[in-house]
């Protein structure tokens, strides 16, 4: 199941979001060694996890976190324009129909096959969310180690500038165009997992 969540004022009080922040800490801090803030030694939460962020969260049969992504509005401060502005050759795409994908997270404790299933559900959800909400463009900053995989999803993807080595990681900025053809492009690459969408209000009861 994919849960669509808009952040609450107190994100750690919500069980689904808390599980996501914990998984993010395990992936981005413990595994990938990113230098980002950690709350209570368990949760990776930064200044962009505010009431303006939207989350897509893939959960398992028992409601556990499997994968998640955070969407930031580009009309507000976001990762590309505040932290990595040098990665974009011209001013980064910005607008009500442009969102930035950040913290694309596949939880640990999954086998290679399970991770692919989760990844596909998340990518499908990203395309579906964009089409439902009039989003034409996603932007994102990616480690180049991931680039080949992001391109191989089959969607239309373009670089925004020349990658740079920043704190030992080679990073690049990308734009992804979402059109009514996108689901078919993804499906050609085996990404057409049908996932039930659960709207944000279900989260309030959690």
């Amino acid at each position: 199941m994919v849960i669509l969540a808009a952040a609450a004022r107190q994100p750690l009080e919500n069980q689904v979001l808390r599980a996501m922040f914990e998984a993010r800490k395990q992936v981005f801090v413990d595994l990938l060694k990113w230098d980002v803030p950690v709350l209570q030694g368990r949760y990776e939460v930064d200044q962009f996890d505010d009431a303006h962020a939207v989350y897509l969260i893939v959960t398992g049969a028992q409601g556990q976190h499997l994968g998640s992504a955070r969407l930031l509005k580009t009309v507000r401060p976001h990762i590309l324009d505040t932290l990595f502005a040098t990665l974009s050759a011209s001013p980064p795409p910005r607008g009500d129909d442009v969102l930035e994908i950040t913290r694309f997270c596949l939880g640990r404790n999954q086998s290679a096959r399970e991770r692919l299933v989760t990844r596909n559900a998340l990518v499908t959800a990203l395309a579906g969310y964009a089409l439902e909400h009039g989003i034409a463009t996603y932007t994102g900053v990616a480690e180049l180690a991931w680039l080949q995989q992001i391109l191989a999803f089959g969607w239309r993807c373009r670089p925004l500038g020349i990658p740079k080595v920043i704190d030992g990681r080679t990073l690049g900025a990308l734009r992804i165009e979402i059109t009514p053809e996108t689901p078919a492009l993804l499906a050609d690459n085996g990404i057409h997992t049908r996932v039930p969408f659960e709207p944000a209000d279900a989260l309030e009861a959690a």
Binding site: A112, R113, Q148, A152, K164
Partner: protein
Amino acid sequence: MTEAELAQALGQISAEMGFRFFALTHHLDVRCAPQPVIRLDNYPRDWVSYFDDNKLGASDPVHRASHVTSVGFAWSALPKLIQMTQRDSEIFERAERNGIGDGFTVPANVPGEANGSCSFATARGCPVPEENLALAQLVGAFAFEAARRLWRMRDPERATPPRLTDRQRDCLIWATRGKTDWEIARILGVSHETVIMHLKDARVRYGVTKRTPLAVHALFDGTISFVDILKS
């Protein structure tokens, strides 16, 4: 875009970045590969023939190194990535005699598909253009994806690797961990015959007759991963 246009574009941008040669390829022995194979290059013909005659597609040191990293690397960094053998040094000497100098390789590993890479090489005696390596990495990744889309369009059926069922995959993972069929049957709670059948069906799907090539193929195309096998 056609294959020829992609090769032309790659040749042009390679030159602009300060390289003489490019080679975009899947890491298979191109003469007997089961899947459609991607390969575009402008290497000297003598070198390409030598490479294929000696079936270097899977054992070439640059290819091997690109399986242990997902970011681009200069060939001078090879000894840090893999154990270099006498044969590897001979391959480099041979390449140099064919006019190939230093290089930079971008690994192109797509889960569920054969590994590949896009390499850029200088002419003998010319240094790698350090200032353009981040750009080369970007070009390599996009070029490989462009080639991948061309090849998929050409033969969409064969572009996807064989798929194993969950049960076949479970049996294979236990087999790669060294368990016998009988042990696997006990672990999975199925009959001995069922395990034999699953592994046989899996071999048929990959068109191999023995267990070791089955494991290697399934590892190679990402159906199973080293993490699956090695985690306790």
